[in-house]
């Protein structure tokens, strides 16, 4: 065991990585406030679950108007644990949106976005947009009435933008109307473009979190004291 550990260490420097990630110094937070510091790792965990369940769903899903819905029914009714895996992905998406909001609110209200963590914040904001994009593109994939019309509404909202609106709508739909090209386009965004972007942003974000360390819990300012 120790020999294996040494072997791995010489090649990967695993102990140092472990130290940097799990044994770094973090500010002391007590009581309910400490829970606010768990939101980021919760997000990371849900993201991993989404990647895994998404990959599994991709094995049985077809992004084509004539089969999309049938393939989802197949997952629900015939694949072993299909309902559970799809449920995880579905609720994971919802949870992700909630968590990303709470996480941002925490960082905002604790002023953790300030110097020197502006870049961390910006990559986080990018991540927020990607989560929204994943939610929007994933919603269409079941290709049922609700999904279809919700996406029509979403596309119409984009279409309202001055000047560029109609072009944005056209690009989103992959044509003049919702159809086969819209579905494949959303699918590609949902499983290729956005997850890769997310992974990249998360990588940089996490690196910066470790690089700068986590900010302290803001203190209440005493009488006569001033904050910067």
């Amino acid at each position: 065991m120790t020999a294996l550990r040494a072997w791995i260490n010489e090649r990967l420097g695993w102990d140092k990585i472990w130290q940097a990630i799990f044994e770094r110094r973090i500010p002391e937070a007590k009581g309910p406030v400490a829970w606010l510091y768990t939101l980021g790792s919760a997000l990371l965990f849900v993201f991993l679950v989404q990647i895994i369940t998404g990959a599994l769903l991709g094995m049985n899903y077809v992004p084509s108007p004539d089969h999309a819905h049938d393939s989802i029914r197949y997952i629900e009714n015939e694949v072993l644990l299909g309902k559970f895996i799809r449920g995880l992905h579905h609720w994971g998406a919802t949870l992700m949106v909630i968590l990303v909001f709470l996480h941002m609110l925490r960082v905002y209200f604790m002023a953790a976005y300030k110097y020197p963590r502006e870049a961390t914040w910006l990559f986080g904001v990018g991540r927020f947009l990607v989560v929204m994009g994943l939610g929007f593109t994933g919603y269409l994939l079941p290709w049922d009435q609700k999904a279809y019309w919700a996406t029509v509404v979403g596309v119409n909202i984009a279409g309202q933008a001055p000047v560029v609106g109609p072009y944005v709508a056209k690009v989103l739909m992959g044509g003049d109307a919702m159809g086969a090209a819209t579905l494949t386009r959303f699918y590609a965004l949902h499983v290729l473009v956005l997850p890769l972007t997310a992974a990249l942003l998360i990588g940089v974000h996490l690196f910066l979190v470790i690089w700068h360390g986590i900010s302290e819990v803001p203190r209440r300012v005493g009488k006569g004291e001033r904050v910067l």
């Binding site: 369940t53 599994l56 049985n60 089969h67 393939s71 015939e78 694949v79 644990l81 559970f84 895996i85």
Partner: protein
């Protein structure tokens, strides 16, 4: 936090460490287990039965092979396709039925029933099969293939095989 404790006592820190490891293992087992189950689910999938109703038994004349045509549904995961299929049906008492695959066992040509010779004749390489499907002459390597049949409520059902490679 003080970590030095006498023998046999567990510190708060190591307790929490074990708790996290335990919960982590539980979550990993549930997620990993169901993910694995989903992934390998084809192993547990039962074969589709694919019975086709080909009509009431009284429509078949005993002693004379009849060629029937029917639409067979094939379910391939979420895709259901319908294709035309046929079979030669043979009965001697309208209770027990034999259904022959209409493809010659040599190279798959369709054969026909010759009423005068009382044989199935394949035009491709001049094979002849007896009424029970045995090879009488010609190149076929084995007797005619049979579809499974069953009679339910006075109707005949056959179970066409998929083409073998």
């Amino acid at each position: 936090m003080e970590n030095k404790l006498s023998d046999g006592q567990i510190s708060r820190r190591s307790f929490l460490g074990w708790l996290i490891a335990g919960l982590g293992a539980l979550i990993a087992a549930v997620l990993g287990g169901s993910g694995l189950g989903y992934f390998i689910s084809p192993v547990f999938k039962r074969k589709e039965e694919g019975w086709v109703d080909v009509g009431p038994v009284k429509d078949f004349k005993s002693g004379v092979p009849a060629k029937i045509e029917f639409a067979a549904r094939r379910r391939d995961a979420w895709v259901t396709t319908e294709h035309r299929a046929s079979a030669w049906i043979l009965t001697s008492n309208n209770r027990d039925f034999i259904a022959f695959d209409p493809r010659c066992t040599h190279l798959g040509c369709p054969y026909r029933w010759d009423d005068a010779k009382k044989q199935f004749l394949c035009p491709c390489h001049t094979a002849a099969f007896a009424i029970d499907g045995q090879v009488v002459s010609g190149p076929p390597p084995r007797p005619l293939d049979r579809y499974t049949t069953k009679v339910v409520g006075g109707r005949l059902f056959v179970q066409p095989l998929q083409a073998k490679a």
